[in-house]
Amino acid sequence: MRDITIMKKFLCASLFIFISITVPAKDRVAILDFQTYNCPQSVARVVGQMTNSRIFETKVFTLVEREEMNALLKEMSLQQTGCTDSSCAVEMGKILSAQKIVTGTVLKMDTYNIAIKVINVENGKVEGSYRSEAADPSDFEPAVLSIVEKVRYDFRNGLYLSIATCAGYRKALGDYSDIADNGYGGSIHVNLHNLLFKGGVLSLGTGFFTFEGADDAIDSILAIPVTAGFGYSLNLFRNTNITPLLGGGIHVNLMNHDPDNADQYGNYEYTREVFVDPVMFLRCDVEMTITPLVQLFLSPSYTVMFEKGKTGQIPGLDAGIRFTF
């Protein structure tokens, strides 16, 4: 009894330490007013505020308000007009007790060039520099989003969770094609990001797929996959991420025989109603960020199912939506 209590305490302490280590405190970040060149001030304000809102939505940083401190900054002759270099931004960051400062510019040539820098207040180092282009004001939103997506990718170092729901198609090939044909269904994936190292993704998934029977003896097969995979997430370009995953699990197959035809043929080799087979899969999630919280994704996959020395191949394609927390 005493051992169990000690064990419980040990588990609680381990969990607390694990969470403390993996979920670091968010950096306090102040975003300075954007500077404009060759375009009206209102453009800089709009792009700056859009960036502000989108960075807030990522939940990567704690944003601190700069405008409140304007009076103090004025007193210290650090009004923002003219504060374009890193040293000035660093000084401003110290006054705002921020760990990082974000500065930005909008330059109008043929197109609007948006550039932002993330500066570490402690050492004045530029930790990230990002650029994007907008053909016209209607393009500001995607341009800002592509920058913010890169910021999120670079600065979100702690563990975080995402949940995806998708609909998909499967095709039974190899030995599995003897009993099944096309499959349709849906699945749910819970992903844990930045596990073990930055970009590491653990994906746990389940769902259901209904396969058409390949011969008259089997009406349909309901396959319930339960899988776990590990992969690496990479920012490909703009707001597109790619995550190749390799994993394994089981498929619980519930077979519905056609009794009349089964009598007629009587020669199908699967006589069980339910069979559980191990599977291995390779999947590649291609995600497009719509907002920092919502991504659309397309996920081609290739699953190999093992059944008594036989192997079935199940290529598939899923499309769905992911919510990041």
Binding site: R28, P40, Q41, S42, V43, R45, V46, Q49, M50, N52, S53, R54, F56, E57, T62, L63, V64, E65, E67, E68, M69, A71, L96, P137, S138, E141
Partner: protein
């Protein structure tokens, strides 16, 4: 035994409606008139009051204050600041709610709207602010 009694007493006090009301009333949101570079002051004033009225309907006037001029009201522990800008025919509305004590953002949203949809957009933002628990609890 005493610990159990203490916990029970605390639970009873916390669930007593009058006290619950008193605790939540501590949070007050001060709405500051929006700012803009080149939109006329009358429209800005009107849009701010649309947001204020909607929040009063949703939360009650004891939680929501309207500060027309001057800097941020330091007596309120939540500050709402916003801006409206216009580029071509599109309006860009930004609304942020700050923790007045720590200067941190609790809500920050930028929306686009055309002239006819300005009020509808602000009402939608008010509903979103109303739903964020972090704003209304200390």
């Amino acid at each position: 035994m005493y610990r159990c009694i203490n916990v029970l007493i605390m639970l009873i006090i916390a669930t007593y409606p009058a006290n619950a009301e008193k605790n939540t009333a501590v949070v007050r949101l001060s709405i500051n008139t929006f700012t803009s570079v080149d939109i006329d002051a009358a429209l800005i004033e009107k849009l701010t009051s649309v947001l204020y009225r909607e929040l009063v309907v949703l939360r009650g006037d004891e939680y929501v204050l309207y500060r027309k001029k001057g800097g941020l009201d330091k007596s309120a522990n939540r500050q709402l600041a916003g801006s409206v800008e216009k580029i071509d025919s599109v309006y860009y509305i930004t609304v942020k709610v700050l923790d007045g004590e720590r200067g941190e953002h609790l809500f920050n949203r930028t929306c686009t709207a055309d002239r006819d949809n300005l009020e509808k957009t602000l009402k939608r933002i008010a509903k979103d602010i109303h739903r964020v628990n972090r704003i209304w609890k200390r």
